[in-house]
């Protein structure tokens, strides 16, 4: 079969099925369907597109705000949780154990406690004494 014969055969293809189509009935059916579901105008379509864009932008904003809020809340939320954990640990200690712990905490690490006059205020201390006091307080 050459190309010309192929084209002639293609031209006959579907002719019988097309002849069976009731064109007038199809035309009326199409018009009825168009009437039942009117086409969306360009203006409406654009409005719908912009409405969807607004919805999408709102969702993005909400998600972003949520993420930022979550990030800001986390440290504050964790702090009391850490304190609660420490408090829970102290609660498990007996009275004797707590006393021992207090003695350890109150004792300076190097054992050389700075000597200050008993009635001395901060204003009475010299600069080196103030630095030493700060160091002892910082541990």
């Amino acid at each position: 079969m050459n190309e010309h014969e192929l084209e002639k055969l293609a031209q006959r293809l579907g002719a019988r099925a097309a002849e069976q189509l009731d064109v007038e009935r199809t035309a009326q059916a199409v018009v009825t369907r168009l009437r039942e579901a009117p086409r969306v105008s360009v203006v409406t379509r654009l409005w719908m597109q912009s409405a969807w864009l607004k919805v999408a932008a709102t969702v993005v904003l909400l998600l972003g705000t949520g993420a930022v809020t979550k990030a800001l809340w986390r440290p504050q939320a964790l702090a009391p949780a850490g304190g609660e954990a420490a408090a829970a640990g102290l609660n498990d200690l007996s009275t004797d154990q707590l006393q021992q712990l207090l003695e350890v905490v109150d004792t300076p690490a190097d054992g050389a406690a700075p000597v200050y006059p008993p009635d001395a205020s901060l204003d009475d201390l010299t600069a080196p004494q103030l630095r030493e006091l700060l160091r002892s307080l910082e541990g």
């Binding site: 079969m1 190309e3 293809l13 199409v30 086409r39 969306v40």
Partner: protein, 183 residues
């Protein structure tokens, strides 16, 4: 915004489209009368089952009229309509595959169906139909638009969003493969 024009004795497609855009339902009906058979032939050749042909023709026109704002006159209305028909057919074939209701040959149509139907259609036509079912969609549509509808490559290219050279290549590939299949 296009306005409705009074429909003349033999209005052009463009005039009917403008009239439809202005709300004239009879302009739409006239476009259906004018192009329905050519569309039906194209769809049937591209693999549409006879029983679904009326529905597919209707669906194609509905899509075309609803999306007529996108038609810029890049090709003839009929050519544009046929390409929409190709999309409608593809969607229908996809739905059929998903539902597994219609035993489709290759992508589209069962060619080993009703023997009487095939006898009426003719053995050669039946084989060509089967051969078309083996082509890619682009090859099949280019072949039908060229061989059956008699369109120029420029027109086919504009409708299918390709170049005339590419359309020519698709056509020759289709012819080659069909010849091999029918030999």
């Amino acid at each position: 915004m296009p306005h409705a024009e009074p429909v003349a004795a033999v209005p052009t497609d463009a005039a009917l489209i403008a009239a439809w855009q202005g709300g004239d339902e009879q302009a739409a009906a006239e476009l259906v009368r004018r192009h329905a058979r050519a569309l039906a032939r194209f769809l049937a050749s591209a693999g549409a089952p006879d029983g679904d042909l009326d529905d597919l023709v209707q669906e194609t026109f509905i899509r075309a009229f609803r999306g007529v704002d996108r038609f810029r006159g890049q090709c003839r209305f009929r050519t544009w309509l046929l390409t929409i028909g190709g999309n409608v057919l593809k969607d229908a074939a996809r739905r059929a595959r998903r539902a597994k209701v219609v035993p489709l040959h290759e992508e589209l149509r069962a060619t080993d169906g009703d023997p009487h139907e095939r006898a009426v259609a003719g053995e050669a036509e039946g084989r060509l139909l089967a051969g078309l079912g083996r082509l890619s969609r682009m090859q099949r549509e280019v072949f039908l638009l060229r061989a059956q509808q008699g369109l120029a490559y420029e027109e086919i290219a504009a409708a299918l969003g390709t170049s005339p050279g590419a359309a020519r290549v698709h056509y020759h590939h289709a012819v080659k493969r069909l010849k091999e299949y029918l030999a």
